[in-house]
């Protein structure tokens, strides 16, 4: 079977709620043995998604989040905090150890491989690279990455900023740990909109699928194929923070003037 590509099951979603998406992903990573790619074109309602160790009191304007009733999710993977909505494009790759030959299942090698994966998608767009742990165009970040690695499988998911709402970005505080190239820039000066660089959203999604086909035999799947309603074999980490939990972080915040 030398030279044959592994199969990648592709799940295309649109405006699928991000909390449910993360639950599906966690299940596919832990309870299945297939390679998967999930592409979710937008999500609703707008939500804040923190990494596994995210602390709302440090990362969010908690008062504003509570006041505006923005859902806050703590996901199972690492990484930082994003606010996502219908302008966000999500791409998740879940692979077995042998799906990518000679890939070491640690963060940096996986990240570098994804840079190779996405390079054709941004061909002709100046400045695309993996910089520290972010996808950037020059010094402007356009995608947030996170990973979850288990014994013989790995997951890498990205939230691409097709567009974003400046007002919603204000829910996010400047994190204490930021990449060195950020140079303490506020969100608006640190990130960019892919719609300003790519001709169309549909074409963007299509080129992602084409990029996958370089490495995998891509087979379409449906949400029913994920077995999302089946009982989980292992504990789930992805949670929505309750209003009681969010209220408890208010004591750590400076009151709004």
């Amino acid at each position: 079977m030398s030279g044959s590509k592994p199969i990648m099951r592709l799940l295309r979603l649109r405006e699928f709620p991000i909390f449910q998406q993360l639950q599906v992903e966690e299940r596919l990573l832990r309870d299945t043995q297939c390679n998967w790619c999930i592409i979710n074109d937008g999500t609703a309602p707008p939500s804040i998604v923190m990494g596994i160790s995210g602390k709302p009191e440090l990362l969010l304007d908690v008062r504003a989040v509570i006041q505006d009733q923005v859902p806050v999710i703590r996901r199972f993977s690492g990484g930082g905090t994003v606010i996502v909505n219908s302008d966000t494009v999500f791409v998740t790759i879940i692979c077995n150890r042998d799906a990518v030959p000679n890939l070491s299942l640690y963060p940096h090698p996986i990240m570098r491989w994804t840079e190779q994966l996405y390079a054709p998608v941004f061909e002709g767009v100046p400045g695309f690279q993996l910089r520290e742990h972010d996808y950037v165009l020059g010094s402007l970040k356009f995608g947030g990455n996170a990973q979850s690695i288990i014994k013989n499988r790995w997951l890498h998911h990205t939230s691409f900023l097709w567009d974003y709402d400046n007002i919603q970005m204000q829910y996010l505080k400047l994190p204490s740990k930021a990449p060195s190239y950020r140079l303490a820039r506020p969100h608006g000066d640190f990130i960019c909109r892919l719609k300003d660089y790519l001709p169309s959203r549909d074409l963007f999604l299509q080129t992602i699928v084409s990029a996958l086909q370089v490495h995998f035999i891509v087979q379409g799947s449906t949400i029913d194929d994920t077995g999302q309603n089946m009982p989980s074999k292992s504990p789930r980490t992805t949670k929505i923070l309750t209003s009681v939990q969010l209220d408890s972080f208010l004591t750590d915040c400076n009151p709004k003037v």
């Binding site: 993977s77 930082g80 070491s104 996170a146």
Partner: protein, 163 residues
Amino acid sequence: MALRAMAAQAATVLRLSSQPRIAKPLIIPLSLRYSTVPEDLKYSASHEWVKVEGDTATIGITDHAAHELGDVVFADLPESGTSVHKGKPFAVVESVKAASDVYSPVSGEVIDFNEVVKSTPATVNKGPFVEGWLIKVKLLDKSELESLLDAAKYREHIESSGH
């Protein structure tokens, strides 16, 4: 002509004898440049170590794993009283942007977890084999230790994994 030939021959001999002895380069496998592997521990193929003292096992991740993961920024450790099972995940560590499972090399009951690692996760990188231990376990079945790797076999494992 003969004298010239002799001179040339002598020069050749002299050049050869005066060549500095070129030591063979010491080829250190890339993985071992970064990895300490203490002799007195046992190891799992998933890069955890075990130190057994009586019926108690102390467990952590190896220097190799700590280096490959990068700076550990978070460790989710089990509470005392939790059961752990050989080959099953018992903890999650976060580094860079990744949450990575940590697998127990043995089965038993957690009798202690490292508070220092919980409050200062970088301790794992600073001293993976000493101050960076993760949990202590009361062993359920000591025979499980027999299937773990000794230091030499663990080094081979790192080599063969291509790290």
